[in-house]
Symmetry: D2
Subunit: 301 residues, 4 copies
């Protein structure tokens, strides 16, 4: 079964390598060709356009950074949609809006192809280990057909409902992750400003009902100010924005997600380089320092 993969970023590259390791014939395309070197050396075939990838594959995986990038690889000049073979399956593992997933599903149907929205969780680490989790929207029968392909890249997949359901759950999951990291960042800022050791907070956290794998990993990195990107802040910011956009369309308030998104916006504005989303902790850098010298209070109005 020939497999195509469009997008060789932090996630797409290890996914392609795992597909090759599993014995699939893999055709790839990426906006910047140099990022494909390692994958080509490992045996992948280069295609000159998303369309060419689609034309040569039974299963096409797209994993790009945001909705405009997905629109470009699907519907732009030499886009994948016009190349899709009848009976093939397009699996989009980007994180985009459920509405865009449904539009993509319709475009595939018009070409006689099937579609799954299948965003992933697990980060670069999970992508490298082949332990991604796929959140899938679409038909059970279509999912069954691509399971061997998913199994090369991940360990679990959840069929969550019709087209768009995978993206909906992905946006909800990332909102939870972002808020957990935000919660830890606020708590660390609070104890530090109050003169208590942030390390001790992590110890108590590890012994509490609040402990979580994401906090086990990000907590020490935040204390060390090690913000090397695992899941980039700009992408988490984008996902929070998509979650809020979806909620806004549904007439649903998400107060803490909205407050967190603004903090991620601020952190994004403070950095030049690409950083992990736990760099949201930088939001408190200046104020935490300043907070150690609280303003005085006088007795009369």
């Amino acid at each position: 079964m020939p497999v195509g993969l469009i997008g060789l970023g932090l996630m797409g590259k290890p996914m392609a390598l795992n597909l090759l390791r599993a014995g699939f014939a893999v055709t790839v395309w990426n906006r910047t060709r140099t990022r494909a070197d390692e994958v080509l050396r490992a045996g992948a075939r280069w295609a000159d356009s998303p369309r060419e990838v689609a034309a040569g594959s039974d299963v096409v995986i797209t994993i790009v950074s945001d909705p405009p990038a997905l629109e470009q690889v699907l519907w732009g000049e030499m886009g994948a949609v016009t190349g899709l073979r009848p009976g093939s399956v397009l699996v989009d593992s980007s994180t985009v809006s459920p509405a865009l997933a449904r539009r993509a599903a319709e475009a595939c149907a018009a070409r006689g192809a099937d579609f799954l929205d299948a965003p992933v969780t697990g980060g670069t680490w999970g992508a490298e280990k082949g332990e991604l989790v796929f959140m899938v929207g679409g038909k059970a029968e279509v999912l069954r057909r691509v399971e061997p392909v998913l199994a090369a890249m991940g360990k679990r997949w959840f069929l969550l409902g019709p087209h768009g359901a995978g993206q909906t759950v992905k946006l909800a999951m990332n909102a939870i992750l972002a808020l957990q990291v935000q919660a830890l960042a606020e708590a660390l800022a609070l104890v530090s400003a109050a003169g208590v050791s942030a390390e001790r907070l992590l110890e108590v956290l590890a012994a509490s009902m609040a402990r979580a794998p994401v906090l086990d990993i990000k907590g020490p990195l935040m204390l060390q100010r090690n913000f090397a990107p695992s899941f980039p802040l700009r992408l988490m910011h984008k996902d929070l924005s998509l979650a809020l956009e979806l909620a806004g369309q549904l007439g649903l308030p998400l107060p803490a997600t909205a407050a967190a998104r603004e903090t991620y916006s601020a952190a994004k504005g403070l950095v030049r380089e690409d950083v992990d989303y736990c760099a949201v902790a930088r939001f408190w850098e200046r104020t935490a320092t300043a907070g150690e010298r609280p303003t005085g209070s006088v007795g009369d109005t």
Copy 2:
């Protein structure tokens, strides 16, 4: 070593029972005497005032619901402070502000007694099992003296710094817990409004980096609308307010904690009975339903 315990609420009662089981002579007082029946039957002695408790104890534990209640049992008429024996230790396991902890420490010192702020985490379940975790502010030497008493009620204690440090970390920890539950509530509301099964979100969550014991427990209860109080919402609301008050004094913004506190305020306003803090999910009840029928959009301004 005679031990006194002031406050026989959801936490205080099982703590008293565990002290008795461990063989301590326990004297108790509670605002409402009838709540003491079970503890008295188990062998505790009743005192007619906080002062009388203090006068007969080497270690006095206070565990009441909020700062005014603590001020009342310490400094009100027949309050504990005036009864403290020189050389005794007052251990306050209520959750109050670090500033109040420091005031209590000074009042103890003026009586020749020692003080520890030692708020707990673990909930009623931890109190019953004797598996509480104590977050302690004060002197290591004083902590050592009361360790046998703490060991009867809990499994771990962390010495976090001088007086107030225990309360500071407790407020930070509760802010994390409240935000985790808020995050889950927002995510559940989002997927439900979008027509995706909330149960499926919990499945994906359990397989993700975001899984946490507090969410394992509260998630299913939230889906069942089972809001029987384990940790009451009104107390979580109070703790969030104390965390924000502390941050405000330090000149530190806590945007997501603040947003969550308002949601907890709203949920508190929606209920008459005492409910668990995971009842914050009720905030979305009306809007989630309404959200299923999004308002139309027209094409012209």
Copy 3:
């Protein structure tokens, strides 16, 4: 000078009538033709597409409800851009993102036409009276050429910078208006829940430094629960979303705007019909009632 107007909504219709009154030859198009009846009776000419409007006009005004609607009338099938005459001016009075304004400017330039982003403030009342205020981005020389057209519909125009500057200021202005109404709604909810007359708050407000025309108008309507749309809530919600999107791109936090947007989302989810944005007050309806019976407080944890 033949003038085209695309979009005959709450704003576009009175703007077209004022152009006709001022003696301009006006060609119109609207997605729903029946909305054009009054304007056609007043002397306007109907065109069968945005393209046809553009082909017959020296100045083309677009005023549609949101970015997708603008993209449709500009670049959709039979869109206006392909019809633009060299030397003509496209004036977009919709509220969209600055980025979209810049894209429109580029598309016009490619056709040899000029562009101004010129969103308006003043509401339906201002549109009817011909007292709109235009916030303009583009070249001074181009603005000068269309001033006679703007003068027929409005009383003032501000040249604020290059393409996109008009939209930027419009988004900022609407954020201020939305927050003023939100502030009043929060204040009214607070005094009402506390048992104080909301009418008296409006009296004090009118005597204070906080008084503002928007509050003079919306305050009494909010007390009467009169939410007939002047500026629809769904459009204010869209504008707040655009402001937050712009801020997010710039790495800038807008905490209160974000909190308000969620409240507008919730209010949007509570209504079926089209309502004014001051219906954000509906957010507090249930909680305000419930708030009159605060939950009790007990003395022990």
Copy 4:
């Protein structure tokens, strides 16, 4: 009618001077005696304690900075309450919680004295010009008796309900003012980060429905970074905290007020000196600059 005034801060001092100008015999006390010099030169009599002020006055005005300060002058050692003459009136013009106002009213009643909560709006400028507005809670008959005294300091008074109603409306009014200034600060940050002139935003604002006296005054000061205190940020922060505390007790969410309070917290943490509340604009200083260099976006995940 001998009048006492306790608290000679930014507001109390000009109020005392106006009482003297109006011919009243005025006795004063202030925590720091040196602040009384000007008032004593103008003819006031010094008393050595709040109690002594009360003992010599028919009307006692208190105007101190916060609830603890009021508790101190009322119930501390040599506090005013124990000195109140039967039949006298205590007028508290501090901004405190409605609950504290009710406690003060009860304490007065126990001494055979009357009480009004009568916080003021108008700032130092209004205090100097004798143009304050009083928001009064209490009995109409009592208000009538003190009207000549209020008339010496202010131009209007509103009787808003029973004890506490004046404070409730004052907290609501200050929340509106704080949010208006926050809204302007967010809007200025947005246009500046987007490269548009902040001055132009103020021009458009002045021509819009959003114009307000508070913005006319604060806007130019914010552009000049002139944060000389008229109404100190620390007091606005305190008032927002009191409004949120009241709302929390009532089970009422105030999302934008809460978001704004965190921004005021952050601004408070950034300054050492006493600044006006429009210094909330400093919150965006760093991020606004950083925002001008938005982080890049890559095309692949």
